[in-house]
Symmetry: C2
Subunit: 435 residues, 2 copies
């Protein structure tokens, strides 16, 4: 039986999962491909730690050149993460005519253009299913069977750490800080969780989804990003009273020739299927002009689901190699010359419904002042809750009709200057008008 | 720009959607493929009805040979449905070296082996994404990025008519008959709805999912099939009291070298994401050994979603044609020689929890007699509700622990013979122990 040689750079958790999967399901993979996938070389600086998998002698090396310079290796898997030296290794692999599989969302969100152009030039594939949604086959769906659609909306729950924290806060009424500490103890959050909880990881992933859905050059610095650190138990609780759950959503929308591209905590109706995406699960909801809404749901991280995506990519490329062809589908699914640079709509111009929470002194006229400021800024109120005082202030919660964000921010700046307002007002966008 | 010629057999609703999609998104498709998809000939017996789309002169014909014998047509789309003459046309197209795209689940569920073998022999692709789940890209996910997994479980809500009826019954407490009548008036159910409500359509689709997930020859007559006609409002209501919703599920499970393959009304916990799949939406939940559970959700029927799947398949095949290759992936994703014939586990051997409802005279000893029969058949009771009498009988509802179906059937046969039992007892399987 034919053999296809694969090289791996970065032998951490996911890399170990890839080796396990290639070993445990070798027969199944051969039954499908009619060829064996052989892990020929694995490069990692650490060649001594026991990963719990047995490798033939000579496979593991601490010299990346053993992978990059081996002419028998057709596909290189990059799993070291980060910008450098990953970028250098990846470009060298492509220049050597090797196909690339990577899970490195940060690298592609920043250096995608350069990498995709190099792959097109070399006539090889770049696949990165594992970079978004772990094992969920969403990128291949966008480039594959959904490719005939003009996409209009992307909504994603893309970070397991954030979703775990928000789920716990929702179920237990706990505050952000205590849940984060627990998540760290359980291994669901990193010791330094900044990257996750500030929304950066989600923005990286949204950048990749946008580039595939809209055929555009977008880097993650174009994406408006708010994390979940300012979400409090009181907002989670009010959300429930209004029939919503709070999720950290990645949102991409096409509006003519411009894109909305934003990551922020968002209230969604509890009866939406996405509202049931709990814990470390991820989900991506895509709307196409013909297919309508499609949601994909699954484990967004972890050794085994991520290995599933990586090996799925290996098999896809192997089918090309076996058929004797090079690049069959470009990295974004669009021919390089058709890729555009769509403008990003400034956050102030987005239109949404808003949840607003004010903390005010319990005095006559407070509500009139708040409502007045909203009114003069063109924001109309859909519903309101004022509950009992806590300490010397009362929370006033308002759900608005659709309003432009710039108007909401102007009203809040004005209201926060009122003497009876006790602390900075809070606002959360609502997404409940889905096609 | 290169052109790829496509021929269509069957110009009904979906065919019209395909023509609309190829026209409206022609630019997008060309931006991705670097080629234009040209609908060269369309064959239908009805060449006069206005479908609301404009075709160039000479495209529409009432002679199928104009499609099948045209050497310039590379891909044939079959959308006439049913067994014959679809089978004959499809086999002729393959024999002529044309790739095939079809939405015909009945044809493939019965004649798949013959058609797939012919395609392998001719070195062409057979794609049928539109046959299961409308626009949901589930078949391409199984054959594509999820291909490295050993699948263990398939659960599907695959028939929009049934799901619409069950959703209405759940939301409104109405009985089956009245909801069916309403669904027919609204066009959600056919004038003769047998095929849908008896589960046949769902079983066809499950046959295709089983063959792709497990690389097995399975025809829909192997599948145990119960429809939704005997579901009553009282069961929907009791389900809710126990925390369940009733859905018509397609279930496939691997158990060693045997498969469970069954379609029947099933109770699932209301907090499962699948429980929120309402109305005409479809969902498929697949569990792979590495990826874990993945759910795909979307519109399971309709002109536009189905056209999305068909044109997605056309684009996939077009990428092969442009690369100069024939069959890249076999029809099941497994090489023909690796396809096995896994045995189907008899329904009596499946193990499940059960909802049982008895209609009994309100007499002393009734419950003891029922519980006694369950006990002697090895079935243990998890919970029970006995409510007030309706007429001269009382409903007794029992949820069992896991039991073999043969034992449940034996107990029910015994209990239905008791003089105090007023009507045939009802049982519904429960699926709430998902990996």
């Amino acid at each position: 039986m034919k053999e296809i040689n694969v090289g791996l750079i970065g032998f951490g958790t996911v890399g170990t999962g890839v080796v396990r999967l290639l070993t445990e399901n070798a027969g199944l993979i051969a039954d499908k491909l009619g060829a064996r996938l052989v892990m020929k070389r694995i490069a990692d600086l650490d060649t001594t730690t026991d990963r719990g998998v047995v490798l033939p002698p000579g496979v593991l090396t601490n010299n990346v050149n053993d992978v990059l310079d081996d002419p028998e290796i057709s596909i290189v898997i990059e799993l070291i993460g980060g910008y450098e030296p990953a970028r250098t290794f990846v470009l060298r692999a492509l220049a050597a005519g090797k196909h690339l599989v990577t899970a490195n969302k940060a690298l592609l969100a920043l250096h995608g253009d350069e990498i995709y152009a190099k792959a097109a030039e070399a006539g090889v594939e770049v696949l990165y299913e594992a970079a978004v949604g772990g094992g969920i086959p969403v990128l291949s769906a966008i480039k594959g069977n959904m490719a005939a659609n003009r996409f209009t909306t992307i909504l994603g729950i893309l970070n397991g750490t954030c979703n775990y924290i928000l789920t716990k806060m929702t179920k237990e009424g706990s505050d952000f800080g205590e849940v984060l500490t627990m998540a760290q103890e359980l291994g669901y959050a990193e010791a330094d969780p900044t990257f996750d909880i500030e929304g950066t990881d989600t923005a990286h992933k949204l950048a990749l989804l946008l580039s595939l859905c809209f055929g555009t050059r977008v880097t993650f610095s174009d994406i408006y990003t708010e994390g979940i650190t300012s979400i409090s138990a009181i907002d989670v609780n009010f959300a429930r009273q209004f029939g919503y759950k709070i999720k950290l959503l990645a949102i991409g929308k096409r509006d003519g020739d411009r894109l909305e591209a934003r990551v922020h905590p968002t209230m969604i109706p509890i009866h939406y299927p996405m509202a049931d995406v709990d814990g470390v699960f991820n989900a991506i909801r895509l709307t196409g002009d013909f297919v309508g809404p499609v949601m994909l749901y699954g484990r967004g991280a972890g050794m085994e689901p991520t290995a599933s995506a990586v090996v799925g990519d290996l098999m896809d490329i192997s089918r090309n190699i076996l058929a004797g062809i090079g690049q069959r589908v470009s990295a974004r699914g669009f021919r390089e010359e058709a890729v555009a640079g769509l403008a990003i709509k400034p956050i102030g111009e987005i239109v949404s419904r808003y949840y607003l929470r004010f903390s005010a002194l319990d005095q006559p006229g407070v509500l009139a002042a708040i409502a007045g400021s909203l009114g003069t800024n063109g924001i109309s109120i859909e519903s309101m809750i004022q509950t009992g005082r806590s300490g010397d202030s009362v929370p006033i919660v308002i759900i608005t009709h659709e309003a432009a964000e710039r108007d909401v921010r102007a009203a809040l700046a004005e209201i926060d200057g009122f003497p009876m307002i006790r602390e900075k007002s809070c606002f959360i966008r609502i997404e409940d008008n889905l096609e």
